[in-house]
């Protein structure tokens, strides 16, 4: 037999083997089954149920849990290599043997769902009860416990905390249990936060005597570590009170504080008056009067009051226009003169007509602009009214941004009481705290509160922007004749600030 034939035979035989494999898997399953052990266990169980007695007791199987020694006994049985066994499994107790399916009773330790190894075989069979299931709350507790144990080993505290919170949120528990956990989480301050401080500050280390010694010897205070991240502002957290603020002040300091208050009030009222004046009119007080009036006044006067221009005799005009010497030199015929006169006359007429039209156009344009301005004024007034209405409404509502209160608050001498019992607070402490936070730049930066004052001028905080709402007319507009209706008014482009 050649090698090829042998190979063929092998192939065929292998194929045959595969083909011969039974399709019914049950058969194979039954082939290798051995139910003797299970049957024996079942019988034993039945016996137990019937008779109510324990099975065989061995020294390894049962022991009494006596606190600390319990863990040692489990250590002996535990295989070393198995990693799964490293997890803290529940210790086997007497209760398990008495009532093996109820895993838990009055013990505080976390319990697992695992059954006794002898009874593990029963799991999944018809008729046998499933493993003990814990309540939701307990489940969560065990989970939390496990997570907490993990966190102890983990280096990063933040991640551990995150995991804890995540685990807590992943469960949906009953309301009461949830409440308990919440209260534990938020309101438990019984923890020394600064216990693991990296480096204790110098003052902690030094005793009082050492500090005094340093003061004596060096004449300086020991320098503190500036480790805080945030730079503190110059304004203190709680400003020290003025002596005049006392409920029973001495005369001098009270007078001083009063004077201070009056001064600040006066300056504020002065400023308010100035800003109000600014708001009421479009142009500030003392604005220069426009000089370019005369041109338009003349034109209007011509149009309205004075009659049409008297037509003077042409000769005079002609004579006036032509100098005497030229007249002597230029001796023309009558026909020539006539022609010349007619030509001039035509020119003059054309010019006159042109002027007339120009004037009319200008006046028309002025009237147009006037109308537009009136409209704009009316519009402005409407807007102003609307604004005022809105402001009136706004005053009732709490504003979005902060409104600064008075700087100095003093009780007048008539308001001061003899008894401490009758003292009434002058200001609202909440508002005061809020304003203080504002002043320290914790809400907004302090830019708005600054007011620069120059000599002889009060600069208001309001910004005055010169933004004309209409087109400015120049001399060019009055030059050429043009149709008012054809050319629309140009608006000045908005300036960027």
């Amino acid at each position: 037999m050649t090698a090829t034939t042998l190979n063929l035979i092998e192939q065929v035989s292998s194929k045959k083997k595969k083909l011969n494999k039974s399709k019914n898997r049950k058969k194979t399953w039954r082939k290798h089954i051995d139910l003797t052990g299970i049957e024996a266990a079942l019988e034993q169980q039945e016996e137990d149920e019937r008779l109510g007695c324990l099975g065989e007791v061995t020294s390894n199987f049962m022991y009494l849990d006596t606190g600390d020694g319990a863990a040692d006994s489990t250590k002996e049985n535990r295989p070393e290599d198995d990693q799964t066994a490293k997890k803290k499994l529940p210790t086997l107790r007497l209760e398990y043997t008495v009532d093996p399916k109820t895993g838990l009773k009055a013990t505080d330790r976390p319990k697992s769902d695992k059954l006794i190894p002898e009874l593990q075989l029963l799991a999944g069979l018809p008729g046998s009860k499933g493993p003990f299931k814990q309540s939701r709350f307990r489940e969560k507790d065990t989970f939390l416990h496990q997570v907490q144990q993990k966190t102890r080993h983990s280096k990063n505290r933040r991640t551990a905390h995150k995991a804890l919170v995540k685990a807590a949120n992943s469960f949906s528990t009953t309301k009461s249990s949830r409440k308990i956990i919440k209260s534990k989480q938020k309101l438990s301050f019984d923890k020394n936060l600064w216990s693991e401080a990296p480096a204790p500050s110098r003052e902690d280390e030094l005793s009082a005597e050492a500090i005094t010694h340093m003061k004596l010897s060096l004449g300086q205070q020991p320098i503190n570590n500036r480790s805080s991240k945030i730079k503190c502002k110059n304004i203190p957290a709680v400003p020290l009170p003025h002596p005049g603020l006392s409920y029973n002040p001495d005369l001098g300091s009270h007078q001083k504080l009063l004077a201070k208050a009056v001064k600040s009030e006066m300056s504020r009222s002065k400023q308010a008056k100035y800003t109000n004046d600014m708001r009421t009119c479009d142009y500030p007080k003392g604005a220069e009067i426009v000089d370019n009036i005369e041109t338009i006044r003349d034109m209007e006067g011509v149009h309205a009051n004075t009659p049409a221009i008297k037509e003077e005799p042409m000769e005079d005009e002609d004579e006036a226009s032509v100098p005497a010497e030229a007249r002597k030199m230029d001796r023309r015929t009558h026909a020539q003169r006539l022609k010349y006169r007619r030509h001039h006359e035509a020119l003059r007429l054309a010019k006159h007509l042109k002027d007339k039209k120009k004037r009319e156009n200008a006046i028309l344009r002025a009237a147009e602009i006037q109308r537009e301005l009136d409209e704009e004024d009316a519009k402005k007034q409407r807007v102003a009214e609307k604004k005022a209405r809105a402001q009136r409404k706004k005053a009732l509502k709490p504003p979005k941004t902060f409104v600064e209160s008075k700087d100095v608050e003093v009780a007048l001498s008539s308001e001061l009481r003899d008894n401490l019992r009758c003292v009434q607070p002058t200001s609202n402490p909440v508002l005061e705290r809020y304003t203080h936070l504002y002043r320290r730049g914790l809400l907004y930066s302090n830019a708005r509160t600054r007011v620069y004052q120059r000599k002889g001028a009060i600069n208001s905080m309001r910004k005055v922007v010169n933004r004309p709402g209409y087109e400015r007319l120049t001399e060019k507009d009055f030059e050429g004749p043009h149709d008012v209706t054809a050319r629309p008014l140009k608006r000045a482009p908005k300036k960027k600030l």
């Binding site: 956990i181 919440k182 902690d204 805080s228 005369l251 300091s253 709490p398 401490l420 909440v430």
Partner: protein, 678 residues
């Protein structure tokens, strides 16, 4: 043709790249404005004023709150943001469920609200305990403020109850450590100062009434601040109470026997702690040590130099403050502020009690014979017991501030009280110091042996004053009977007084500068005792002048004048040495100083005049000056005045920045304005 390679694009470097506007930051963090505020407050990131606002805002001149870009990047990776985002998502779900009236879903959503703790943030902001202690002023004021605030959303009941708990914890620490140094009652509220680990912490507490929530303040922001401060103070309290060996959370040492409904009510238990007068459970047993320390130090100090004495004076004073009320028993009447007074008295080693109807934990009754002081705040009070002093509450605070037991006579109920002086003393140059404050300063500087003598002196001076007043009153009664006889004598007295005053003025005129005048006026005189001293001084000066008179020319020569001259030349030279830029500022400061000095001297003069008026040495006219009469102006004067005012306003306007901006580029004015006028 582009820009050169070395040049950077606009807005990529410098101020513009450092800052980010708030709206941008909010968008970047994917949060709402309120949530952003909350994160910033918890993490301690606040807007910063740039050096050049327009550059930082990339050419925009409108005001915008700016944050550092670095800070916002730091915020982006914070785990707190995730919880806040989750909360926002849950809020939306909750709103939806409420709208659909799905109760079950609402409950579910509420249950899943994320929990977060702020301990990590507290640690970040205050890496050491001392840092946290230094910054205690803010949280304390906030928490004391929210203890009796009106409950209205967004402030809820649990906020108030938490604040009350923290407040009680801190006050018990202050009592146990007896570290209260100052207390001051103002019209705004109470100011306290405490010394913890060598740091002085000041905080305020409002008066005993419910504070209303103002419409101007944004309470949501205040709530965020409060949230952080609650967490911070909680951890600080734990550490502080641990230092005094007290159990945390606080627990009464012996549980009282309560019956039925009383047992169930938790307030009964809370009130034990809130009374600040009930013994509490301790972690370790008390050990009586370091009792003799003070004695040994005092012995050591006696033999040591002045320098060491100065250094140890503070420590000695603190020790004296601790034992100020030791051995004294106080009884508070119901109208007094129980909490504040128990804090002050118990931190100074005293014992307190009150009527049992006012608050629980009253240790003894009113008829106890051992009571030394009863604090009363009503003018008409029937005194029953002769064995005790009846005092107004101000006495307790004044004693604490002066670190001495002050005489009780001026503080008796119904008496006009002496002024309550601010213990936060200011040491500016030229600051007006009223005589009462001067007394306080003297008392604080003196040693315990000197204090007694000082108190005696003060009492004697006051008695003299009273005697003078009485005499004046009697005189005035007599005058009504026989006016003519005594008139001449009185005039004589007045003349004498005037001559004395003139002398004083002459002395003051020696120094031409206002500064010197003020220096002279700074020598405060109390009543008559000090006047005598002044007279003595004056005599001494005259003697000096006589000695130095030279032959030849008649010329008075005094040392003081010479010194002042030298000083003036010195200052002039110094000002010349200053740089031109700074000289202006220097002059400004100098003028301010002189103004202040003038003001203080004026106040002092006024005060003296008033006191003299009380005794009767000065008449009303002299005090107030002659009655003012209105001067009639002529028409031309009035017109000139009006004209001047108009000119002034025009000039002011022309100078103002607004006007400059307005007519910058325009030479000719619009022609339309005149048509409008017509």
């Amino acid at each position: 043709m582009g820009r050169p390679r070395n040049m950077k694009k606009k807005g990529e470097a410098g101020e513009a790249a450092r800052f980010i506007s708030r709206s941008r930051a909010v968008r970047k963090l994917q949060l709402g404005l309120q949530a952003f505020n909350r994160v910033c407050i918890i993490k301690g990131i606040f807007p910063i004023e740039p050096k050049n606002r327009i550059k930082a805002q990339k050419g925009d001149s409108k005001y915008r709150p700016l944050y550092l870009k670095k800070d916002i990047k730091f915020l982006m990776h914070d785990p707190l943001i995730w919880t806040i985002r989750q909360e926002e998502a849950l809020r939306k779900k909750l709103a939806k469920a409420r709208h659909l009236r799905d109760g079950y879903k609402e409950q579910l959503v509420k249950r899943n609200k994320p929990i977060y703790r702020l301990e990590q943030n507290v640690l970040e902001r205050y890496p050491t305990f001392v840092d946290a202690v230094k910054d205690l002023g803010d949280p304390l004021t906030m928490i004391f403020l929210f203890c009796n605030i009106e409950v209205r959303p967004p402030i809820y009941e649990h906020h108030v109850s938490r604040c009350q708990r923290l407040k009680i914890e801190f006050l018990t620490y202050v009592i146990e450590a007896s570290c209260l140094t100052k207390a001051f009652i103002t019209t705004k509220g109470y100011y306290y100062e405490v010394e913890i680990m060598g740091h002085n912490i000041v905080w305020t507490a409002p008066h005993n009434c419910v504070t209303e929530v103002p419409p101007n303040a944004d309470m949501k922001i205040m709530r965020h601040f409060l949230e952080f401060y609650i967490a911070m103070l909680g951890f600080v309290n734990f550490r502080l109470l641990g230092k005094v060996d007290l159990r945390y959370p606080l627990k009464p040492k012996v549980m009282p026997r309560l019956k039925g409904a009383e047992k169930k009510d938790l307030d009964n238990l809370k009130n034990l702690m809130a009374s600040l007068n009930y013994p509490l459970e301790k972690t370790t047993e008390e050990s009586e040590e370091n009792l003799d320390d003070n004695e040994t130090t005092s012995k050591l100090i006696k033999g040591s130099s002045e320098k060491t004495q100065k250094v140890y004076a503070e420590r000695m004073q603190a020790e004296a403050r601790r034992k100020l009320f030791s051995g004294l028993k106080f009884f508070l009447n119901p109208e007094c502020n129980r909490e504040s007074l128990t804090l002050v008295i118990r931190s100074c080693g005293g014992e307190v009690s009150w009527p049992s109807t006012v608050f629980p934990c009253s240790t003894y009754k009113e008829d106890d014979q051992c009571i030394t002081h009863q604090i009363v705040d009503r003018p008409n009070f029937d005194k029953k017991y002769l064995t005790r002093f009846y005092v107004q509450p101000q006495w307790v605070y004044d004693c604490l501030n002066a670190v001495t037991l002050k005489p009780c006579q001026p503080y008796l109920p119904g008496c006009p009280l002496p002024p309550h002086i601010c213990p936060f003393l200011k040491n500016f140059e030229g600051w007006y110091i009223p005589p009462e404050e001067e007394d306080l300063r003297k008392l604080l500087a003196a040693s315990p042996e000197e204090k007694e003598a000082l108190l005696k002196e003060m009492a004697a001076a006051e008695q003299k004053k009273l005697a003078m007043l009485r005499a004046v009153n009697e005189k005035s009664d007599d005058e009504s009977g026989s006016e003519d006889d005594d008139d001449e004598d009185k005039y004589d007295e007045d003349e004498n007084d005037e001559s004395d005053e003139e002398k004083d003025e002459e002395v003051e005129e020696d120094g031409d500068d206002a500064v010197n005048e003020a220096d002279a006026s700074m020598e405060v005189d109390d009543g008559e005792g000090n006047n005598k001293e002044e007279e003595k001084k004056d005599d001494g000066k005259e003697e000096e002048i006589k000695d130095v008179v030279r032959r030849g020319k008649e010329r008075f020569y005094s040392k003081k004048k010479d010194e002042s001259k030298e000083e003036r030349t010195d200052t002039r030279m110094r000002t010349l040495m200053i740089h031109k830029k700074n000289r202006k500022l220097y002059h400004k400061l100098k003028t301010k100083e002189t103004k202040r000095l003038r003001r203080s001297s004026m106040l002092k003069d006024r005060r003296e005049a008033l006191e003299l008026h009380k005794i009767g040495k000065i008449s009303d006219e002299q005090l107030e000056g002659p009655p003012k009469t209105k001067i009639k102006q002529t028409f031309s004067e009035r017109r000139a005045k009006l004209y001047q005012s108009r000119v002034r306003s025009a000039v002011r306007f022309a100078r103002s920045a607004a006007n400059k901006n307005r007519f910058r580029g325009e030479k000719k004015k619009p022609a339309i304005a005149d048509t409008r006028d017509e």
